[in-house]
Symmetry: D2
């Protein structure tokens, strides 16, 4: 296990889906930041299941408590302990799965690696694990917004074969993103996506999707070549989110099909500083932010737990048919939005703290 | 700067394109491994420029010297110092670029971050930086092959709009990969790719491409959720390679368009162990290797340094036209193959050492 | 702040003296270890204040709760969340200190470093911070005892000018250590120490002391030269405990007065393995454990918070007289015993996990 | 092995006593620092053996080469590669030791841990290993001196039973320290020490000693509680130096014999800032520097390799008599001075970089 992220703004998380609590410690947060639970709760609430027909109806209030690190409404510079109780500690729905590892889920690999695994639900591999990160990242978001004006916004850019129009040059607000259940600000596409997810849910199947995320007002100079290049740490952060299968920044895989003369971003004078006329680079050059918006996409596979009957095998290797009981997310991308945003904030915040040293 | 990678098998690299030397320290290598320069040289030679018309003709022998950590042909368990001298320390070709940052290159961001940069060539952002990694990774490859039979093979799967056929289920050998200049074992595609790169080179332009890489015989259980999931650290490693813009594992971005009932990999009995019938997961589930081949793709943008005239701006913001002198790689993907392979080996080797602890 | 310790057995702690809770996350604990709160509580209880007239009478039950990482009485291999509620969240006793930094306490340096500090008590610099470490270290102790038979025992070897006889060759049990209030198993010395501490307490002063600690049955080969030598990491761990001023291993400062021909520990055959006839090395040679008992001493200064009137200055630099109100520990060494023992266990456990890798 | 030190100013070292070279990579050094070999060489030369009758006559020029990270006399912000060739790669003197592990040396523990060891000399456990650290630390010293006026000075305060007078309140200059062969600025004591070391050398024995080190002009606020407290990381650094057995800061072990009312350092107004009237704290409170001089002592054991006949055992457990051939240091403390100073600089420099972040 490796549940600690960051060099100076360091987050350690804990918690399974059905233990007593989940949470995190944020170590290295600057002192004298105004902070209360109210700053953290909104992203946790956006992440919460049961918000709509699009997501699993399991009800969890997910109220965060700050255990330490804040006094009189201000951070002390000491570790911030964050905790969210699990209400729903032992559901019956999961139990019959125990002999049959769910295909494309972590049941098999956890059992093989640890020789043990949470008997119910996904344990540490459950989406519930992300609560600690989201809570920690919400603190990073607040600092980045207040001190640098950084805005981080993700939205659903595709579900299955339905693609939204490109909005990376005209970034929506979070309110616009949240305006519909699927969190795609292209309303025409959103309608079709909702239709698709509803149909998929009704037939007990699931479907994948892609998020686009843009970080605006990122200062020039963040990122630590060579192994902690901006895009390298961002890719690590994104691929650590459950169900992700791909990451691309700027032109991404499409850029691999282009010629240099089309792909290069020429420099131009912009608002009194050097900027680029195009942004195929996605805001980074040589592993360092260049002042343009950081634009990236993250691919999520269809959720592995489905009610459709699957021919598979038991741990012992015997043929078996699995039909997951209970209600499960038919599509994770709407709920993944606050996770992607807050993970981005964690990466940025750590770079900010590593960069800002100047002996002068 | 952050030039150290790994938790137990730890690699630190140094060196600019035009300093005295480039190299690495490998700390945490097991003792009693047979090792000599001859084990490391082949991947360095495959990475070397000037091997064909496809790559930059700058001639560098790139002979590695082991400075420490090996005695009587065996590793001591102490840090292995690795060094490759730079022959060609101060070329004139680069000099007139100094006022004009090359578009989509690291000139601008290095200057902004550090307030200084190598006057000639790309300095630390040059492809020459990768020598230290390749040398270190060649040691990891040797150990992984000898002890676990792990084979890591990358090949060119696309150049520009030319795609090779899918070879991930019938993985070529390195000899097959090296059989043509472009390192694509689909000969029909290779021919077109070579034609394209030749044309691109002749018009002083550049073109991007994609590598596919497969790691076979990876033991079950590698990867350290949650932040050091297998695919997360692999993504970090790949996005730390110069010119990369995207990473996907298994089904990747295509998987985001699929339904769960199609995407899930059913378990089947296989050679006396539990395997999966399909491999959309790309060899990892829940951030841990599942014993199937690890399959991933890496997107490389077209090289930024081109001879085509580019309208851009000086550091001071004045309009300027830039035409890079000298000969430059029109396409990096053939030379990127040993880099991707050895970086994969570094990630795997670190996971092997972190995993193999069992108190029992 | 840096509240995370360890490379593979990683402990992150949180909590101030007067927040809601203190605690820790233990990441990297092996799976399938039997574990419950009952395994952790004894060392927390030994650390607890109010156990005797020797220590501060502030009453805190210090009951630990396991929040995650354990299911059905066994560890899952996932992070273990540990929490102890603070009962006594806002005492009045400390308030009038706010303008006058306590001499030799952390009030001044915290304020200067963070520009903020806990208004009451020592906040993060309080002895209460050690609860998270002790809870985490109790888990390490259990594993080390069960798998290797390692025993870690500390006792009070001096208080002020009163020295106990050397017991490092005839190590007492924890029960013998706990047999008297001062936790010194040399009863004659203990009696004088108790007398001294009582007198010191009555005149509202404080006194320092030294602990000796021995780790027995430590396997040969632990420690990671050069920067993580066994004694280097042990020294770091000990000097991270509040109020410590010195660390010495084996012959320590006395060894610096000796000749090599007297100091060297000759090898002898011992129980079928190579051991040493003497143990001036204190169980380590070249930064690596040699199989002999690890013997070290830790110096604790007299507690800084005293009722005696002190002529000092306010934060603003004005002369002031400070008399601490309330009841404070006149001597920390008895309560420091479980802290020293569990910190030793954390260092050892991390070395065990880093060492045991053998590709073979 | 763990040969990397530091969080932001990161040093990785390599090299055995009889390989091709020893050296280091310094990663995270600020850019635009004027730097050349001439800045590094003096401390290497002070460390060099063969400077006097007091130290081993083995002749090594120890000329450092900067391999990377510096261009036109200024640092680039990229890793600085540092190398010193080993002249004397295979001496015969050591060979007959191979069956008999030297008592109190690392021969036995290296063999047991790694299953291999350098056949000649101490390999990685040799004092020659410290060259990389000294070279790296010399860079840190330069930056600390130029930007903060920090002065770090160590001297020999005891050899065997001969103690110099306390000079911690009237710190000598390095020139004064170097004025005699034993590097003790108390001339009366120095004379006796030299006499003692000469006698010890003549009878082929060795003797231990203690260094005192003072860092002046250390800014307030350095150190990262709780695990990276100033004194904790300093203790780790010191105990990672070969032959060290103890560390104490400020009052140290003597402080453990004192009462709080005597030991506390009262605050006083001093040069326009709050300082302390006494300095029992040794410049740190709560793990953070308080602006007073940092004063600490390090105990060195007598060197293990002696010519005196020692009754010991072979690796196989058979009784044997060992008389080391060749010439060896009878006392390491004079040569340890630059090592202690530069290791202090490495610890300080890392704290400076970790501290100086202020979002404001």
């Amino acid at each position: 296990m490796s549940s600690t992220l960051g060099t100076l703004f360091k987050v350690s998380t804990f918690g399974e889906s059905h233990g007593k609590a989940v949470g995190a410690i944020v170590d290295g947060c600057p002192a004298n930041i105004e902070l209360s639970e109210a700053d953290i709760q909104p992203q946790l609430t956006r992440r919460r299941p049961g918000q709509s027909d699009m997501t699993t109806p399991r009800d969890e209030a997910d109220q965060v408590t700050i255990l330490s690190g804040v006094e009189n409404g201000k951070t002390l510079g000491t570790p911030i302990g964050l905790m969210v109780n699990n209400r729903d500690q032992r559901p019956g729905d999961y139990q019959e799965m125990s002999d049959v590892p769910r295909p494309s889920h972590a049941d098999f690999t956890y059992q093989m690696k640890y020789g043990n695994r949470a008997a119910s639900g996904g344990g540490r591999s459950s989406a519930r694990e992300t609560i600690g990160r989201v809570a920690a990242g919400a603190i990073a978001e607040k600092i980045l917004a207040e001190r640098f004006g950084i805005r981080i916004t993700a939205w659903v850019s595709s579900v299955g074969e339905i693609d939204a129009r490109d909005m990376s040059l005209d970034v929506p607000t979070r309110a616009q993103v949240d305006a519909n259940m699927i969190r795609c600000p292209d309303e025409a596409a959103a309608e079709k996506m909702i239709e698709l997810v509803t149909a998929v849910r009704d037939r007990k199947d699931s479907v994948g999707g892609v998020l686009t995320c843009v970080a605006e007002q990122v200062p020039i100079g963040l990122g630590e070549p060579i192994f902690d290049k901006f895009e390298a740490r961002l890719a690590q952060a994104m691929l650590s989110i459950p169900a992700t299968k791909g990451f691309e920044i700027g032109s991404g895989f499409a850029g691999a099909r282009m010629f240099g003369s089309d792909h290069n971003d020429p420099f131009v004078q912009k608002d009194g500083r050097l900027g680029t006329a195009t942004n195929h680079s996605g805001g980074v050059q040589g592993g360092i932010s260049n002042g343009e918006p950081v634009v990236f996409r993250v691919a999520f596979k269809p959720p592995a737990t489905i009610g459709v009957a699957q021919e598979t095998a038991t741990f012992g290797g015997e043929a078996s048919v699995l039909e997951a009981k209970g209600r499960h997310d038919p599509c994770v991308v709407p709920r993944a939005i606050p996770i992607v945003e807050t993970m981005t904030a964690l990466v940025l915040m750590d770079f900010v703290q590593r960069q800002s040293f100047r002996i002068s």
